[in-house]
């Protein structure tokens, strides 16, 4: 019975389901410290990680001022609390005569003269205080006052800034976002020292109350897109947001699509570049993955390195990526269509050698392709889940089993192994993993289409895909822009990348307020000066 009693304690305190804690914000503090502490303990009943510390200021033998400090174990920096709060108030404060300061005067003294923590603010209601405490701040409540102080003492175990795992580059910064919201915002701010870089924070999740920040550069980002992002974010009413993927799926335009409608990145330089192109960032606490909106199909194919390397090589690599994407979607389906329906379209020698390798394989080409593709997916999945060293073993064993042994056993033909390998490698040549996974799915669909209708099926698939892509939008921006409204100028930074000085304008799809990227510099005049010297 006892257990049920404690669980039933909610009848005294309202359980807050609103993410901004509105009802609790109306619950004002009492003047009596004991009363306040009691309410606090009701709120945080059965929370064993709660720390409450009561102490007095001034002469401990004739205590005049009682205070209490509340925080959560593990979320606060203990050293900070001890050095800057407790010591300041209990030891150093004795040098200050306190006898005559009461009420507001005393509050002012503590706030402005005694506490040596860097960030603090006032609060007069329980909602704000409880939320602050749960976020890692320390609440300081003072006797005979219906106001309290919230001290920023956040400090929990966190991962440092490390090199991102999913977006490795050869040239470029090695920093990656972390799981801490403020660190992530700071990483972006460090790159853009502009008062126009705006950060707007909303809390999402009725239980998690996750900080979600919307970042944009005022004067570049189109206000209508920023507004739309904020509007959609505010509409989200979900119990918890644990990763930016939750947000992505809650506010995306089309949840049927295989294509991600946000770009996600772990790299602050990519995020900063996106801001400069007029995009909006959505940074979510507790995850290093930052969302970029709006997104087009082509921007998913671009990598930050494209802009760091010289433009020839960048253009070539981009072209390769698009070729790889075509292979990733269509290689197995084309093969099946050719081999099972239209062998006449193959060169004679190739047709014969494919025929020779197929000799003795008991399955149809489609089944053969499905076997290989499915086993590859299983290997990929297993490789991710298993810890590093075993993962490698799986790779080797899987490679041997699937590649060599399956061919030896006559279950699949060698050409199929080559094909599926190329297909899989191609799909991961696309820099964005979400797109790559989408492509893997499409490959299966195209394969089925090819196996029921040959090239007609593949073409039908491409037709459907095109129709879908043309209608898809990300925050009002067509997914296929800029090709959807064709202008030759816009192709400079699309499939190839023109030299940086010639990219005078920001990409058009974000509809930036200020379009200019590169201004005509005075670099060219330098050459003229030298000529004058000669003359």
């Amino acid at each position: 019975m006892g257990i049920f009693d404690t669980l039933g304690s909610r009848k005294k305190t309202e359980i807050f389901f609103e993410r901004d804690m509105t009802p609790d914000k109306n619950r004002k503090l009492y003047k009596d410290i004991d009363e306040n502490l009691k309410v606090f303990k009701e709120y945080l009943a059965d929370c064993d990680d709660l720390i409450t510390r009561e102490f007095v200021m001034g002469n401990p033998e004739r205590p005049k001022h009682r205070l209490a400090m509340i925080n959560i174990d593990g979320l606060v920096d203990k050293r900070l609390v001890q050095e800057e709060v407790m010591k300041s108030l209990m030891l150093y404060a004795r040098q200050t005569p306190l006898e005559h300061s009461v009420g507001d005067k005393f509050f002012q003294l503590i706030k402005e003269g005694l506490l040596t923590v860097a960030e603090l603010r006032e609060a007069d209601n329980f909602g704000e205080l409880v939320l602050a405490v749960l976020s890692g701040d320390t609440a300081l409540i003072i006797d005979k006052l219906d106001r309290a102080l919230i001290l920023n003492t956040k400090g929990w175990e966190k991962r440092g800034v490390e090199e991102p795992l999913t977006e490795a580059v050869i040239r470029g910064p090695r920093e990656g976002f972390t799981e801490t919201y403020r660190v992530n915002v700071a990483l972006v701010r460090r790159r853009i020292k502009d008062p126009n870089l705006k950060v707007k924070t909303v809390r999402l999740g009725r239980h998690t109350r996750t900080d979600v920040g919307v970042l944009y550069i005022k004067g570049i980002a189109n206000p209508s897109i920023v507004e739309e992002v904020l509007k959609r974010l505010n509409k989200v009413d979900i119990d918890g947001v644990l990763e930016s993927g939750y947000i992505e799926q809650m506010i995306e335009d089309n949840w049927v699509s295989f294509f991600p409608q946000f770009r996600r990145t772990e790299r602050p330089d990519v995020a900063a570049a996106a801001l400069l192109e007029g995009n909006v960032l959505i940074i979510c606490d507790t995850t290093p993955f930052v969302l970029i909106a709006p997104t087009t199909l082509f921007s998913l194919f671009h990598s930050s390195e494209d802009y760091y390397e010289r433009w020839y090589i960048a253009s070539l690599i981009r072209l390769l990526r698009f070729a790889a994407a075509a292979l990733a979607i269509a290689a197995p389906s084309f093969y099946v269509a050719m081999v099972a329906y239209h062998p006449g379209m193959l060169p004679t020698d190739l047709a014969l050698s494919i025929g020779a390798t197929r000799e003795g394989v008991p399955f149809s080409t489609t089944v053969e392709a499905l076997i290989m593709m499915l086993s590859l997916e299983v290997l990929r999945e297993a490789g991710i889940r298993l810890p590093g060293p075993i993962g490698q073993t799986i790779g080797i064993v899987g490679g041997l089993v699937v590649g060599e042994a399956a061919v030896r056993a006559g279950i699949v033909s060698p050409i199929m192994v080559i094909l599926i390998a190329i297909n899989a490698i191609s799909s991961f040549a696309v820099p964005n993993f979400s797109v790559a996974i989408g492509f893997r799915l499409l490959t299966f669909i195209f394969l089925i289409l090819a196996s029921v209708a040959g090239l007609y099926g593949v073409m039908l698939g491409f037709l459907g895909l095109t129709v879908h892509l043309v209608t898809l939008k990300s925050f009002g921006v067509p997914y296929l822009s800029p090709v959807i409204s064709f202008k030759f100028k816009r192709l400079r930074d699309l499939v190839v990348r023109a030299p940086l000085p010639s990219l005078k304008e920001r990409p058009e799809y974000t509809r930036p307020v200020d379009k200019t990227r590169v201004r005509d510099s005075k670099v060219k005049e330098r050459g003229g000066g030298e000529e004058n010297d000669d003359g």
Binding site: V339, A340, M345, T348, L352, G355, A356, E359, V452, L460
Partner: protein, 377 residues
């Protein structure tokens, strides 16, 4: 409304499968790729003896040691007697485990006797059949087609590839007719069966393609030898390269020239009772071989150019004369030229063109330039 649209789109998509008849999934290892079709006259009745050869893919797979695949031939050959080619292919389904598949048919060989009887049936088969590879080659065999199919060539794995690839040499050998099945059918239709086909002479281990079979009204009427074919090729503008050999006076060793550039113009110069055509080839040639002691200077080059022009004129006239006098068949495109460029004059000749053609006057005016003389002086 929207639902109706979706249903309509779905139905239309399904219709693609049904209407296009694209439902014939046959895996690549369930087909026999017919490489050659040989057509001969059967010993009995008016029937045809049709022979198909196809590679046994299991035996030609590149597995090195297993290449022989039990020692047997890599090529299977089946023949049957039937009324038509299609009927023969269908008869095969009683005897073969896999479907005959013609999209990789590279070579169609017509035996001499069958060709003399008429090739209309072949043309008809090719034009009705949607599978046959239009870039394949068709030729007439001197002798029997089945003899050509017995050739055990050592050069290529497949006989069909061997024969078909010989035609790739047309850029430096112009002594055969370079024609694909597609070209053949186009010209057969537009001229009512007056065409030149390449001639194939089978040997024991190889074949030789050279010369031409003259087809008149879908029937073989005779042969052109290799030099005559070269002459005809000049008129047709089909010469891309090739060597011309002639002897200088008092020399043992010939001078050999290689054509590097050529353009031929045919024009009508006079339209009397019989039209008069002027053929003017413009040739640029390299000297590739000369007698050892020959001094090549400007005057020698001039004289060699003269000799070359003379030689080309001769070759062309010889070929044209033979077609005019012996076969009386216009496969030189004179009629076509008139029809296309001088329709008024063509009206005048059209009715009786078959009789006019043998009397057409042809003048040849070759202009030759020697460009390269090699490294030594």
């Amino acid at each position: 409304m929207k639902l109706r649209k979706i249903i309509l789109a779905g139905l239309l998509s399904i219709a693609i499968f049904v209407v296009s008849g694209c439902w014939d999934m046959v895996d690549i290892d369930r087909r026999f790729f017919v490489g050659n079709i040989g057509i001969d006259k059967a010993a009995v009745d008016d029937k045809l003896k049709v022979e198909f050869t196809m590679p046994i893919v299991r035996k030609i797979s590149g597995e090195g040691g297993q290449g022989g695949g039990g020692g047997g031939s890599t090529i299977a050959s089946v023949s049957t007697v039937a009324d038509s080619i299609h009927a023969a292919a269908r008869q095969m389904s009683h005897r073969l485990s896999r479907r005959l598949f013609f999209e990789h048919t590279r070579v169609i060989l017509i035996g001499e006797e069958a060709a003399r009887d008429g090739i209309e049936g072949v043309v008809n088969f090719l034009s009705r059949n949607t599978e046959v590879n239009r870039r394949g080659r068709i030729m007439v065999v001197k002798g029997k087609a089945e003899d050509a199919l017995k050739v055990k060539n050592e050069y290529e794995t497949l006989l069909a590839m061997y024969i078909a690839n010989i035609f790739e040499n047309w850029t430096f050998c112009s002594k055969f007719i370079e024609i694909t099945i597609d070209d053949f059918m186009k010209s057969a239709y537009s001229t009512q069966g007056n065409v030149l086909l390449p001639r194939l002479t089978p040997g024991k281990i190889d074949v030789s393609i050279g010369g031409a079979a003259v087809i008149k009204n879908y029937k073989l009427v005779g042969w052109l030898d290799e030099n005559e074919t070269l002459g005809v090729n000049f008129v047709l503008g089909k010469v891309r390269g090739g060597d011309l050999t002639f002897k200088q006076q008092g020399e043992d060793y010939p001078v050999v020239m290689s054509i590097v550039q050529i353009s031929t113009k045919t024009e009508l110069v006079e339209a009397g009772t019989y039209p008069k055509f002027k053929i003017s080839p413009r040739i640029v040639a390299d000297i590739v071989e000369t007698p050892v002691d020959m001094k090549i200077d400007a005057s020698m080059i001039k004289s060699l150019e003269k000799d070359l022009e003379e030689k080309v004129n001769q070759i062309i006239l010889k070929g044209v004369k033979k077609l005019q006098k012996e076969f009386q068949v216009d496969v030189l495109g004179f009629g076509e030229y008139l029809y296309k460029y001088r329709p008024g004059i063509w009206e005048y000749y059209r009715e009786d063109w078959e009789n006019i053609f043998p009397h057409v006057e042809v003048i040849v005016d070759t202009k030759a330039t020697i460009r390269g003389i090699g490294a030594s002086l």
